[in-house]
């Protein structure tokens, strides 16, 4: 039995996907200017990450390994994720227009979010998790992304009112804020679970 709680807390706090592992930085800086958009993006990523973790794990275990074509994982995973997101978008558009308005524009962006592919690769080739552990890792990593994105969006909304030197306005200031946030998250790195 794997330490599921350890995996979950590790993925949310200790090895936060954005602040420690540097994955998914494009949405982290791109969609963190407004708290409302950040929330929608965070939930969309969590959802896709969980489902794609399960899907890619099943494909790796029952298709790639039996056929001995593990080296094809990059091509197969990216295609699976891209087509899954496409299907998902059509499904949400048909079943819930309200949800589609909230998450719609973020779904296509998620395809090229390296965090999704990163977690799929971590679950299978790097860590070799079981299906349950991979699912837990998918949910927790998504939650960690949501947490980092919300913290960042909150910071940036307050920074709107600040008056930094002109050269620091916008992206440079966002990077410095992220550095302080990452420094805070370093405090979790000694935790043993």
């Amino acid at each position: 039995m794997e330490n599921l709680l350890g995996i979950a807390i590790g993925a949310i706090l200790i090895n936060n996907i954005v602040l420690t592992k540097f994955l998914g930085l494009c949405p982290f800086f791109g969609v963190s200017t407004k708290l409302k958009n950040a929330t929608a993006m965070g939930f969309a990523v969590t959802f896709v990450m969980t489902t794609s973790s399960i899907l890619t794990w099943l494909i790796y275990e029952y298709l790639l390994i039996p056929l001995h074509i593990e080296y094809m994982r990059i091509v197969v995973f990216i295609l699976v994720i891209a087509s899954f997101v496409q299907v998902m978008e059509m499904f949400i558009r048909a079943s819930s227009p309200k949800l589609h308005r909230a998450l719609g524009i973020y779904l296509p962006l998620i395809t090229t979010n390296c965090a999704i592919l990163g977690v799929a690769l971590m679950n299978t080739t790097v860590e070799g998790y079981s299906l349950i552990a991979a699912t837990v890792n998918g949910v927790a990593t998504g939650a960690g992304f949501l947490l980092a994105l919300l913290l960042m969006a909150g910071l940036r909304e307050s920074l709107e009112l600040a008056d930094p030197p002109q050269a620091f306005q916008g992206l440079p200031l966002a990077f410095i804020s992220a550095a302080l946030l990452a420094l805070a998250f370093q405090g979790f790195s000694g935790m043993i679970l």
């Binding site: 494009c26 295609l79 979010n113 592919l117 990077f175 370093q186």
Partner: protein, 197 residues
């Protein structure tokens, strides 16, 4: 052939500093100059060869399914470099870890394919991709040099000490995640102040 297609990607349209693309590898693997060199080579290989192929095939790829086609081409080339590096340079392969396969979702590559390679001639595309690769290499090597120098105290490339130890107690935070964000934030502000871009 226009030489400006090559030069514009180095400073003026630098992928990392001017366009803020490809940030994940820029922050993650810049803990040492050695890793940055390996990453630059891998990205240059994938960027130049994939855009070359895409430009050559642009009349055969249907407009509606172009993005999946580009992704398949890029992913195949990433698989090639993944296997090559695994075979010839196992230590570098281990250091780059998950970021080597993740070149496939590096937005610089798909971005150039969509904006440039799918519309322009093969020779222009080659120059453009080479210029962007040089610009990316310059960006990540400079970030990694700052981080390694301050964070480890010395710069060591493939066993050779390029810059000897400056201090016996370096600022370790610089090679930890916060140092990456800090270095890029300050570099960005300095480049803006100097009006380079």
């Amino acid at each position: 052939m226009k030489l400006q297609e090559f030069t514009k990607g180095i400073v003026k349209k630098n992928a990392v500093f001017a366009l803020a693309l490809g940030l994940c590898p820029t922050l993650a693997i810049t803990t040492s100059v050695e890793n940055a060199l390996g990453m630059s080579l891998a990205v240059a290989f994938v960027l130049i060869s994939s855009n070359f192929i895409i430009s050559a095939l642009k009349h055969f790829i249907p407009q509606e399914v172009r993005i999946p086609c580009f992704i398949v081409i890029i992913a195949s080339l990433v698989t090639v470099i993944d296997l090559l590096m695994h075979g010839y340079s196992p230590t570098l392969y281990k250091h780059l870890g998950i970021f080597l396969p993740l070149i496939v979702v590096n937005c610089i590559i798909l971005g150039r394919a969509e904006v440039f390679a799918s519309k322009r001639s093969v020779s222009d595309t080659f120059l453009d991709a080479a210029g962007i690769s040089v610009g990316f290499a310059l960006a990540i090597i400079s970030v990694s040099a700052i981080r390694e120098l301050l964070g480890s105290g010395a710069i060591v490339i493939f066993g050779h000490k390029v810059v000897p130890a400056l201090t016996s107690s370096p600022a370790t935070a610089m090679i930890l995640p916060p140092g990456a964000f800090l270095t890029i934030g300050i570099l960005l502000a300095l480049l803006r102040r100097a009006k380079v871009m």
